[in-house]
Amino acid sequence: MAVMSPKDFATATPSWWCPGCGDYGVLSALKQALAELGKQPKDVAFISGIGCSGKISGYLHSYAFHGVHGRALPVATAVKLANRDLTVIAAGGDGDGYAIGAGHFVHAVRRNPDVTYIVMDNQTYGLTKGQSSPTSATGYVASVSPDGNPDTPLNGLALALAAGATFLARGFSAQPKQMVAMIKAAIEHRGFSIVEVMSPCVTYNKINTYAWFKENVEDYTATEGYAPNDRVAAFRALTRDGDIPLGIIFKDERPTFEDRTGLPETPVAHVDLGASRADLASMQAAYR
């Protein structure tokens, strides 16, 4: 395994994020995790959505794809199917993943492709200047909900668990060590792994601040006796009242989408297209 440094995954592109944005912590943890795993930038496909968090793909030296709003997961799923040798990571914000992309989120979970998905949750829409997001608290006052957000916040990880998730983790961008460990575990997990990171928006969300999170998160999986392979315990952890649980909350083994689609070992991207001409011609017999 090549010795890699987080710097090997840095780009020269200056960041467009606000100073103090939680996403900086996520980016540096991701670089650290990739370096510690000995990944090469050429073998990493990094697919992101749209929004502040979606900009992350511009800051990771890799094969990066910054597509349309909410569609990172179908792109990432197909990249993995097209070349199963790649390390495929998708990333985006809570709006990208849980609002406009919620449909794809559920189906990516069902399929279980060997893809890691990092959701940076700041509980607001940052790039459009602070509207309610699917994870904003009920009553959250924002420009389009001046009398308070009327919706119930979405519990993305619980939704994923119900849809058949095989890896669920939650981190906090001010706790880099834990984030690095869970991103590494997520990438190494064979199947669809979700890492949701509490990533404060320092510009628009004046409620869910760094200080607020420090008061309201708990490293739940450090609780004695917590077994991350217990689906019911995981659901209880994710849906309980009280502090937000952090850590690897659930982990399960299930055949991946690549396995279930019978994908050959040779990456589809490297199939010799010139081969099998005789087989192709003989198919016409069925139409004679």
Binding site: T11, T13, Q40, P41, K42, D43, V44, A45, I47, I50, S57, G58, H61, S62, Y63, A64, F65, H66, G67, V68, G70, R71, P74, V75, A76, T77, A78, V79, L81, A82, N83, D85, L86, G103, H104, V106, H107, T261, G262, L263, P264, T266, V268, A269, H270, V271, L273, G274, S276, R277, D279, L280, A281, M283, Q284, Y287, R288
Partner: protein, 593 residues
């Protein structure tokens, strides 16, 4: 006397088995050496509802529907009610009178009625009502003079996999039908002479199968799609075949996923496609723009049906041309090509992949229900003639990081394209405007250059686009333009008009975007009348033609928007009426030429 041209229609309720019987008779006509076209007119439901299946046989390849129905096999009264007006004078109707009778007001005197208790015979003589379809085949064969040996051969072939008992039952059903005709009716209806020739080495294939096959041969190894009529056949075909060739098919959760998956696979270096129809195409619009700006080669098959909204899902229309050409915010280069025959469905789909990769943009293959779900006879397809040109793809080796620029400005606007895994090629592919290295920028000069680079590909590709096909007489006074499934009825109209002394020229467009302005300008030169034949209300093709040739008084739209394909007589009559012409001899309008 109509020699070797017959249109047979099976009409009944969906689920009655009209399709199986129709396919059988299509196969029999093929084996008799005739050219066949089939047309499915079925409701958007699985059981019940009036359905009909048309099989047109003639001696001309690539014809479509005939002028009228020669022989209607009506399994119920509804079929008579729905199609009595489409009957050709002198034609005949086989009616199952087991439980219904034909009221007097429907009894056209210029058609011959063969009322046969098909269901009763099936039940009483053969013990299974379901085989009334096969009995009707025996009846029809005896009435129009099909080779009985060929009929038996094909019935055996179709039912072989169901076992000898089923084969035997169906052969006996054929015999029962033939016997009934001999015992009850004196002779055959006049006017139908089918001469048996040699089948030769030919295929009978549906347009959608030809598209899927063309894609596979062209190296497509990834398809994502969401089931939608009339495009689902492509997804089903690929699902069976792609895995055998190292590829993969995904049934996506919606069309948004289908197209973005297609982009993902193409970005990773796989020849990828999706297939959809109007409603799905609407959902795919945003991602098509992404393919344009990211210069990702994708092939999108559009099997058009009637719109707007749900429209008539199983009926044909050419109303999505504007959508394919103009849809989406912003401006991207794109290609729209339209096959006019089953053979072209194979060939142009293969071409689409080369165009997509060579010029790194989305390519639409536009077809419609009356072609993509229709079967036709054709000579075997030449797999060896399909060349795979992957353009400036860098799938192996390495490039030098810092020097390599994914969106480099080049003379033809096409940049060398690396795929993930190639050392040194790491870059960002952003849907935002970017510089040659893929870095997001809003710089004014870069923006203008990037627009010119991308849009300029449309000019660079001109010589690679499928050319229009000229039919008829090049310097005739009357010019006709059309595309897609209308190729058949227009080409037939051109031939029959010529036989009656009216010469016409017909340009079958195969590239619809970039619009072939030069070809059209050249084609209409010297014409006294220009007709644009299309299946939509607003004249989408005619508007494009008018933009090229100017507002001519002599530009005439021939349009049909009832969900049904053109019959050649509709084109013939439009031309004659508009131009104030008559044929030398009225009889020449007949289909036998």
């Amino acid at each position: 006397m109509i020699v070797n041209s017959v249109e047979v229609m099976f009409g009944g309720q969906a689920g009655d088995g009209s399709l199986t019987t129709g396919d059988l008779i299509a196969g029999v006509f093929k084996r008799m050496g005739l050219e066949v076209y089939t047309y499915k007119d079925f409701p958007s439901r699985i059981r019940g509802g009036h359905t009909n299946y048309v099989i047109r046989a003639s001696t001309h390849a690539d014809y479509g529907m005939a002028d009228a129905v020669d022989a209607l096999v009506a399994f119920d009264l509804e079929a008579v009610q729905a199609h009595i007006d489409e009957m050709r004078p002198g034609g005949f109707i086989v009616f199952d009178n087991t439980s219904e009778t034909v009221p007097d007001e429907l009894r056209r005197g210029d058609v011959t009625w063969y009322e046969i208790p098909l269901a009763k015979i099936a039940k009483e003589e053969l013990g299974l009502e379901l085989v009334r379809n096969t009995i009707s085949l025996g009846v029809l064969g005896a009435l129009i003079g099909m080779d009985p040996d060929v009929v038996r051969h094909d019935v055996r072939g179709v039912y072989a996999r169901k076992g000898e008992k089923v084969v035997d039952l169906n052969v006996r059903a054929i015999e029962a039908g033939e016997r009934f005709v001999i015992e009850n009716f004196a002779g055959r209806p006049s006017g139908y002479g089918l001469t048996a020739g040699a089948d030769g080495d030919r295929l009978i294939m549906m347009g959608n199968d030809a598209i899927a096959y063309g894609a596979l041969v062209a190296g497509c190894r990834f398809m994502a799609g969401y089931p939608i009529t009339p495009a689902t056949d492509v997804l089903e075909w690929m699902s069976k075949q792609l895995p055998k060739f190292g590829g993969v098919v995904v049934q996506a959760e919606d069309e948004l996923a289908a197209i973005t998956m297609t982009l993902g696979a193409a970005f990773t270096g796989v020849r990828a496609m999706t297939a959809t129809s109007g409603p799905g195409q609407s959902l795919m619009t945003e991602a098509i723009g992404l393919a344009g700006v990211l210069e990702i080669p994708v092939v999108v098959v559009e099997c058009a049906r009637t719109g707007p909204s749900t429209g008539m899902p199983t009926k044909t229309e050419q109303s999505n041309l504007n959508h394919l050409i103009y849809s989406g915010h912003g401006e991207i280069p794109r290609v729209v090509i339209a096959p006019g025959t089953v053979r072209e469905s194979f060939e142009l789909t293969a071409t689409a992949f080369n165009l997509a990769e060579k010029y790194q943009l989305p390519v639409f293959v536009l077809t419609e229900q009356a072609l993509c779900q229709s079967k036709a006879t054709l000579a075997p397809l030449d797999v060896g003639a399909v060349e795979i040109d992957r353009g400036k793809l860098i799938a192996g080796g390495e490039v030098t990081f810092g020097e390599y620029k994914r969106f480099a400005f080049t003379e033809d606007g096409v940049s060398p394209r690396v795929i993930p895994g190639v050392p040194g090629g790491m870059h960002l592919a952003p849907g935002s405007e970017h510089n040659d290295a893929g870095v997001i920028t809003e710089n004014a000069r870069n923006r203008a250059r990037m627009m010119e680079k991308r849009m300029g590909k449309l000019v660079a590709m001109r010589d690679d686009l499928p050319r229009a096909v000229l039919h008829g007489v090049a310097d005739a006074d009357i010019a006709i333009l059309g595309y897609g499934a209308n190729r058949g009825p227009i080409a037939e109209a051109v031939q029959r008009l010529a036989a009656g002394g009216v010469l016409t020229r017909f340009l079958q467009l195969r590239t619809l975007w970039p619009f072939p302005e030069d070809d059209i300008r050249e084609f209409v030169r010297g014409a006294q009348h220009v007709f644009v034949v299309e299946n939509n209300y607003t004249g989408q093709l005619m508007q494009l033609v008018r933009a090229v040739v100017g507002p001519l008084d002599a530009l005439h739209g021939v349009r049909k928007y009832d969900g049904r394909p053109f019959r050649p007589i509709e084109v013939i009559e439009s031309v004659l009426d508009t131009c104030g012409l008559a044929l030398h001899a009225p009889g020449d309008i007949a289909e036998a030429i």
